[in-house]
């Protein structure tokens, strides 16, 4: 079905503070549009002061995260043909900003908490001489985590933060991916396991996998990052046999 010329209704969250509310808009669609194109058309034709964050329009910068029809996704990577198909006939398409973060204005939220949390993570600490060599297998494993575009859709989705607001106790999926990226790096010698358990609160994650479901970069956040880190925490704290082995072999680790 061609979308060219089709009239489409939208409701978009407008305003700031307590006065933020859903406002209705209607535009004519073109073929091949994504949601961000529609927001831009509304901005261009009707509401020049509509605040929206965007940059690359190619799913690589992670700026245009929003909740479209209640589902968090990148506006630039969400095709209108899909959204029109999922929206019941006659109903408007609803666009809201991410809910887990403080609201600034319209579709813009303040995601700085993620950067503050990231600064608490110990950076990679490897040999001083930069002749780091490792094989492809080892590289592939951490390469996946570097695909992250920091759109923070996973953080917005995680119920630990979204519903329970444990921003002080839990690092959030994005920073757990960062921790996995450093911790599993073949040349890294730093030990972050006690922090992963205590400061970054990995045990708050109950692996409901919503973060993996929304990741536009296709990172297996739960299986490859979080569960792998959880297993390392088990090694350190909850596996009596490994503890005995470490005592017998006089391996000193931090708890």
């Amino acid at each position: 079905m061609s979308l060219k010329g089709k009239k489409q209704d939208f409701t978009i969250l407008r305003g700031e503070g307590d006065e933020a509310s859903l406002e209705a808009f209607s535009i004519e669609l073109d073929e091949g549009m994504v949601v961000l194109d529609c927001v831009h058309r509304i901005q261009h034709e009707q509401q020049p002061d509509l605040a929206v964050r965007w940059n690359c329009k190619a799913g690589k910068c992670g700026s245009c995260s929003a909740e479209i029809n209640g589902r968090p996704r990148l506006m630039c990577m969400t095709r209108m043909s899909d959204v029109v198909a999922e929206t019941p006939a006659g109903k408007p398409i609803e666009i809201r900003p991410m809910k887990a973060f403080p609201h600034v204005k319209d579709l813009v939220t303040d995601v700085s908490w993620n950067y503050e949390m990231a600064q608490k993570i110990k950076p990679i600490n490897g040999p001083d001489e930069m002749n780091w060599e490792f094989n492809q297998m080892e590289a592939d494993r951490v390469q996946q985590f570097r695909e992250c575009i920091e759109c923070f859709l996973c953080v917005n989705t995680c119920h630990v933060l979204r519903d329970h607001a444990l921003f002080d106790e839990f690092a959030g999926p994005r920073n757990l991916v960062r921790l996995a990226q450093y911790e599993m790096h073949p040349m890294d010698t730093e030990d972050r396991v006690p922090e992963i358990k205590k400061e970054f609160g990995i045990e708050y994650c109950n692996i409901t996998r919503c973060c993996t479901e929304v990741c536009p970069a296709g990172i297996q956040i739960t299986d490859d990052a979080i569960i792998q880190l959880k297993e390392r925490v088990v090694d350190r704290y909850y596996d009596p046999l490994q503890r005995i082995w470490r005592t017998l072999t006089r391996q000193k680790v931090r708890y």
């Binding site: 589902r71 809201r96 700085s112 094989n135 329970h164 994650c205 109950n206 297993e231």
Partner: protein
């Protein structure tokens, strides 16, 4: 947290801006698990009979009651005058139950279906979850960390499952195969896939290491890679193997009660 005013979040069980049918999956999974638990309870405590049958000398054992440890010489179990409620399943089923109960896939399913924590992504949780104070996998759920120990036990059970399959091949007149063999072999295969795609096994095989450079560590890295491929469909193996355990039990029940009859496909 940065500056700005927090947006009002929808509060209350099931409140969401989602417009799709998000409730069907958790309901289907919840009903599946409840059915599995009710059937197991019925079989264990109310109807622990018809647990195996013989076809021309070959023995087909119900997957729920396998291994039948009460027939074992070990610890004099075969001579034990056990209370009437004790049967092979009561003695052994805690292993697969514990393995599945602490499984990383299963945890997701029961947090969603039985604890509404959350029922589905971007759907709000019931008020009580917030009142109790969310603790994640601490408190009672800390036992989930024992998953690897259940894995060790489950691997032993798995070997016995394949041993059971070989019992279905021994006919009075030689080696053969029956429909029962196929049912048991498919069940053992699915369980093997379920166990080998386990997250804890993946970690123990190679995930615990950062370097997979030489000798054994390189082999462990390759093993990690292979298990990772299976691990992607851990949920599929979870459900198919679970279904086949009950299908296998129903098959044995039906044949030993005479509702169905097993046939030898060939004997050589």
């Amino acid at each position: 947290m940065g500056e700005g005013i927090k947006l009002p979040v929808l509060n209350g069980l099931g409140r969401t801006n989602r417009i799709d049918n998000w409730l069907s999956k958790p309901i289907a999974m919840g009903l599946g698990l409840i059915a599995a638990m009710l059937y197991t309870a019925w079989r264990l405590f109310l109807f622990p009979e018809s647990i195996s049958y013989e076809l021309e000398g070959s023995k087909v054992m119900s997957p729920i009651f396998s291994p039948n440890v009460l027939e074992w010489d070990l610890f004099g179990l075969n001579e034990w005058e056990h209370p009437s409620w004790v049967n092979a399943a009561v003695l052994v089923l805690w292993i697969p139950f514990g393995f599945r109960g602490t499984c990383y896939y299963m945890r997701r399913v029961y947090y969603r279906t039985f604890f509404a924590s959350p029922v589905a992504c971007w759907v709000d949780e019931p008020e009580i979850n917030k009142k109790l104070g969310y603790k994640g996998e601490k408190r009672l759920f800390i036992f989930n960390n024992l998953h690897r120990y259940f894995l060790y036990a489950a691997m032993i059970i798995l070997v016995i499952k394949w041993w059971d399959v070989t019992h279905t091949l021994h006919f009075n007149d030689g080696w053969g195969m029956s429909l029962g063999t196929l049912v048991m072999a498919v069940e053992a295969f699915l369980l093997t896939m379920y166990v080998t795609s386990c997250h804890a096994l993946r970690h123990l095989a190679g995930g615990a290491l950062d370097r997979w450079t030489t000798g054994i560590s390189r082999m462990r890295g390759k093993l990690f890679g292979s298990i990772s491929i299976l691990n992607r469909s851990h949920g599929f193996w979870f459900w198919t193997s679970l279904t086949f355990v009950f299908f296998g039990d129903l098959w044995v029940l039906a044949v030993s009660k005479g509702y169905l009859s097993d046939v030898a496909l060939f004997v050589i």
